[in-house]
């Protein structure tokens, strides 16, 4: 591994961490699309900054870009407040307009400089190590490493200082306001941090990757845990893992680093989305099926309780009367048998004592509308779940 490779991975990991922290809060506050809007609309800020300074490396550029990011947020909120359109429409209106202004400004005035739209949107991590920061002639490392490092330190500092406030205002705005924190200040603080992170990260990794790094690790972590601290930790872990893995994929495929990091993030999310223990698609589908069978079982037991006639309790009758398919009635019958709730004599089904008790209690709960209690009851009675 050459030193350039290590530097690239270091930068990518730092960007991933710097993005994961505000990203987690954006996802929790249902403002994930704002990061997309910011990453597009910082363009005019950068262009204007460039006109003023004529220097692509000036800190003023970052400042102006962050300012445009905040302007975007304010504009979106203003449009939303007028009540004329919904929030998502407001976002969708503001950022393309700002982005267009940026594109036009570039096309009209800055054609001859290295400031093209591709570079802004996509970024190129591979060149980051070549852009060195020289302090009095001494090479102290790639410039973007320093930029993102400083941003990261500030972000972590703010996070530690305001963790409690952020937590409260994210989950309970009313409580936060009544406790005396200003939700507005926290909101705009978070927005500023997101803008600055986006800007600082974009010239290393590009706007799209910033969005991906903000949302994807946080969303993936959200599927796995409901604890804020764990979620932050997981998001950072996912971010760093995909940054490093993505780099090697890109190395192997000889393709864009930003793209491959995103792809790794996507694969990670897909895996978690499918297999997460309690919220993954497979788990959800399984639980839905389980519940369906259990509801059927309950219906079946109620039917048995209501009918003492033998012909109503015949196994074959199930199919006609409750209109179940063969497979379904078979699963239900087997489940009931396994749980000792019914006995079958000569194809005539009858309830056991336990079955009667279960059914009676179930009716009680259904009548009193306390559906939530049924789960606990199921735990008491069921030896096997559906």
């Amino acid at each position: 591994m050459s030193s350039a490779q290590i530097e690239i991975q270091l930068i990518a990991s730092l960007v991933a961490i710097a993005c994961a922290i505000p990203g987690t809060f954006l996802v929790l506050r249902k403002m994930a699309m704002i990061s997309d809007a910011i990453s597009h609309s910082i363009l005019p800020g950068i262009v204007v900054g460039f006109f003023i300074t004529q220097d692509l490396n000036s800190p003023l550029l970052i400042f102006l870009a962050a300012l445009t990011g905040i302007i975007t947020v304010v504009l979106v909120e203003y449009i939303q407040k007028t009540g004329l359109v919904k929030e998502d429409t407001a976002i969708g209106l503001v950022f393309p307009a700002l982005f267009s202004i940026g594109v036009i400004l570039i096309a009209k005035n800055a054609n001859d400089v290295h400031l093209d739209v591709d570079a802004v949107l996509l970024g190129e991590l591979a060149f980051a190590p070549f852009d060195r920061l020289l302090i009095s002639g001494v090479d102290v490392g790639p410039k973007s490493l320093w930029v993102i490092g400083i941003i990261l330190i500030i972000t972590i500092g703010l996070l530690l200082a305001f963790f409690k406030e952020l937590k409260v205002s994210t989950f309970d705005k009313g409580l936060a306001a009544s406790l005396g924190f200003s939700p507005a200040i926290i909101h705009y603080g978070l927005m500023s941090v997101s803008s600055v992170t986006t800007v600082g990260a974009f010239d290393a990794v590009g706007a799209i990757l910033v969005v991906a790094l903000m949302i994807a690790p946080a969303a993936t972590a959200y599927l796995l845990t409901t604890d804020l601290k764990k979620m932050l930790g997981l998001a950072i872990g996912f971010g760093v893992f995909s940054a490093i893995a993505g780099y090697w994929v890109a190395h192997w495929l000889d393709a864009s680093i930003a793209g491959s990091i995103t792809t790794v993030l996507g694969l990670l999310f897909l895996v978690v989305y499918l297999f997460a223990p309690s919220k993954g698609v497979i788990a959800v589908l399984y639980r839905e099926k389980q519940q369906r069978t259990e509801v059927s079982l309950l219906t079946f037991l109620l039917h048995l309780r209501n009918h003492s006639e033998e012909n109503e309790r015949h196994v074959n009758h199930l199919n006609e009367h409750i209109n179940w398919q063969k497979v379904r009635s078979k699963t239900v019958l087997e489940l009931a048998l396994k749980n000792n709730m019914i006995v079958i004599n000569n194809d005539i089904v009858s309830l056991t004592k336990k079955g009667t008790l279960f059914t009676t209690q179930a009716i009680d709960y259904i009548i009193t509308n306390e559906d939530s209690q049924i789960e606990g009851m199921k735990d008491d009675f069921f030896l096997f779940r559906g």
Partner: protein, 344 residues
């Protein structure tokens, strides 16, 4: 046109997500065919756009992630994957690959006649389908549960609308590019929404606004060199939106402000009248004159409001004295009654 449905369905940002999600489709289609035939590329874009859309829906319904997260997630992940493929293609020894990234930012000037025909045909099909399924679309839009109980296949209609939105986006990509497509979808519809409450008029207006911004934008960008078409079109559309926000008669900001001021004036007038009524009540003769001075203690009073009351024939002025007229007294007492009724 189809944007109207997107806006009303609160899926505005879907356009943005789809236009990004179409990128890997374009790249894969190119990888498979190895040719830059715009039809196959569009097909690829369509397929990956649809996959993106349904995955978004899957995330929203099956997990507790919210729609904005799902959108942002799919958008960035698909786009990143598309970038990976694009850069991968660039390394391939294939002379055809140049210009593939034109899809990213769009260039209306590069369109050839066959593309235009394709667009016209697809637009025609969209129109036709919309006319046929108008009733179903409309119902699903405003009351999905009702539609379901009526026995319509909501899933099918839903998929139909979504597919057409995706189709429109993918076609538009060539003209204005990935980033600005969402604005093309949204801006005309959002502008049209301000002018009307009726769906059919809104769709018509949106089409009109869209066409106008297209024409104006192209004209402006052609009149100056170095102006790319897409951004100009979007800016023109944005101007339409701002104009609509401010000047629309029933929802616009300007008229809202005017109504607000007018309401406040009315309220003050009523306050003065009520005050006068309370004084006049204490006298046997309601038209008994009082000096204007006693009104000075009262906040709602100005010479203007008094004059307005005179104009309405509620009050008579005689020198420094005022007196309520019969009509003014009745109005004021009714006012009072209404207020107490309102309190109950």
């Amino acid at each position: 046109m189809l944007g109207s449905f997107a806006v009303l369905r609160k899926q505005s940002l879907l356009g943005d997500a789809i236009s990004h999600a179409a990128l890997p489709g374009i790249a894969i289609a190119f990888l498979i065919t190895g040719a830059k035939d715009s039809n196959t590329l569009l097909l690829g874009a369509l397929v990956s756009g649809l996959i993106g859309t349904f995955w978004i829906r899957g995330i929203i319904t099956k997990t507790h992630l919210k729609s904005d997260t799902a959108l942002g997630l799919i958008l960035s992940l698909f786009f990143g994957f598309g970038m990976l493929l694009l850069t991968f293609i660039q390394k391939q020894p294939n002379a055809n690959q140049a210009g593939l990234d034109k899809y990213l930012f769009g260039q209306a000037a590069t369109l050839v006649e066959s593309d235009v025909w394709l667009m016209a045909i697809v637009t025609g099909i969209c129109l036709l389908v919309m006319l046929i399924f108008w009733k179903e679309f409309k119902m699903l839009l405003f009351d999905a549960d009702y539609t379901k109980t009526l026995g319509f296949n909501t899933k099918f209609i839903d998929i139909l609308i979504t597919s057409f939105i995706v189709l429109a986006i993918v076609l538009g990509l060539q003209t204005v590019g990935v980033v600005l497509m969402s604005a093309m979808l949204l801006a005309p519809a959002a502008a049209a929404r301000q002018w009307t409450n009726s769906l059919s008029i809104m769709v018509f207006l949106a089409a009109l606004f869209g066409a106008f911004s297209g024409v104006f934008g192209t004209a402006i960008s052609a009149s100056q060199n170095n102006l790319s078409t897409g951004p100009v079109i979007v800016l023109v559309a944005a101007v339409f939106v701002v104009f609509s926000f401010v000047f629309s008669p029933s929802r616009g900001l300007l008229f809202k402000q005017i109504r607000f001021i007018k309401n406040r004036r009315d309220l003050q007038l009523h306050k003065t009248l009520a005050f006068m009524y309370n004084i006049a009540k204490t006298h046997e003769d309601i038209t008994h004159p009082h000096t204007i001075k006693i009104l000075n203690n009262f906040q709602g009073y100005t010479r203007g409001t008094l004059q307005k009351l005179v104009d309405k024939n509620y009050v008579i002025l005689q020198g420094n004295m005022w007196s309520l007229t019969e009509e003014g007294f009745i109005t004021a007492s009714n006012l009072y009654n209404q207020l107490t009724k309102g309190d109950e």
